[in-house]
């Protein structure tokens, strides 16, 4: 019997191009809504794996590190990262692994095997949730202000420096926001906002609407 976990989180193995709620027309709308001080764009699609396990079990952290090169971030609402992957804190026993699309399947199977060897008490597991969230990037000097329009988290750089992440509500819908040092190799930090895939267009609409406030007349 085929195992569910053979599922790949990655699109290239199948023939069809995948649907993206933030495909061309939405990306255009977002980029056209940008201002001199705030830019918004769809984030690149990445593999997203949900990891669960007992952080108190050193074997768990080791297994994660062995597979991903990253330790689960020890501090709540922070992330660890290297050039390829990021590991974001989601809960005291829950993390999200972000990886390049083509590495998703490998990481999934590697982690599955590694976790299977752990003590059942750790209750470790990994699951592909690449489809469940879609991300947007917001950057520029007024990026935080834009989000403050609909988000009650303290996103001031003192409270939310690079390397922080947090789940909360933005525009009334649940999001995960990460403060990343770079955006796609570009040399500026950005706020990456993950929303549920079914809601991300609503969020994009909300952002476009919100940006209107930041455009000066005549622009």
């Amino acid at each position: 019997m085929a195992k569910a976990k053979e599922m790949t989180p990655e699109g290239n193995t199948v023939e069809h191009g995948g649907f993206d709620p933030l495909a061309a027309d939405w990306r255009d709308r977002l980029s056209q809504s940008g201002t001199a001080t705030i830019q918004v764009d769809a984030a690149p699609c990445q593999a997203q794996l949900t990891l669960r396990g007992d952080p108190a079990d050193p074997a768990f952290a080791k297994a994660v590190e062995a597979q991903t090169g990253l330790l689960p971030p020890p501090v709540a609402n922070t992330l660890t990262a290297d050039e390829h992957c990021r590991l974001l804190w989601l809960g005291p026993d829950e993390w999200m692994l972000l990886a390049p699309p083509h590495q998703g399947a490998l990481l999934l199977s590697g982690l599955t095997v590694a976790f299977a060897a752990l003590s059942p008490a750790t209750n470790a597991m990994v699951i592909d949730t690449s489809e469940t969230r879609r991300a947007l990037d917001v950057w520029g000097p007024d990026a935080v202000q834009l989000l403050e329009r609909g988000c009650a988290l303290d996103l001031h750089p003192r409270a939310f420096p690079i390397g922080r992440c947090a789940q909360g509500l933005l525009a009334g819908l649940p999001v995960l926001i990460a403060h990343l040092p770079r955006r796609n190799g570009a040399n500026h930090p950005c706020l990456r906002i993950f929303a549920r895939t079914s809601m991300v267009r609503h969020l994009a609409w909300w952002l476009v609407d919100a940006l209107a406030e930041f455009r000066r007349p005549g622009k």
């Binding site: 020890p74 809960g91 988290l153 947090a166 649940p174």
Partner: protein, 86 residues
């Protein structure tokens, strides 16, 4: 009451949470008579004063936790310890 202290994420806006109400133990169903069961399902202490109650950080870390709150003032008295921030 606009902010609830999540033991994992710290104080966060109320809208990120869902209220679970007073902590009520579930009796053993087998010996329980209808009155006991009805009491478990519906009857609450509903104190005016400190109450031990459950919340879940539903739009955050999704963890349930228990805190003590004075229902007479809505003030949170005893917040669960926030996990070390290191």
């Amino acid at each position: 009451m606009e902010r609830i202290p999540c033991p994992h994420c710290g104080p966060r806006p109320l809208a990120e949470f869902s209220y679970g109400g007073e902590v009520v133990p579930r009796p053993d169903p087998e010996p329980a008579d209808d009155a006991t069961w009805g009491a478990y399902l519906y009857v609450r202490s509903n104190p005016k004063g400190p109450q031990s109650e459950r919340w879940v950080h539903i739009h955050g870390c999704r963890r349930w936790f228990t805190l003590t709150r004075d229902t007479a003032t809505h003030r949170i008295l005893d917040t669960p310890l926030r996990k070390e921030e290191a």
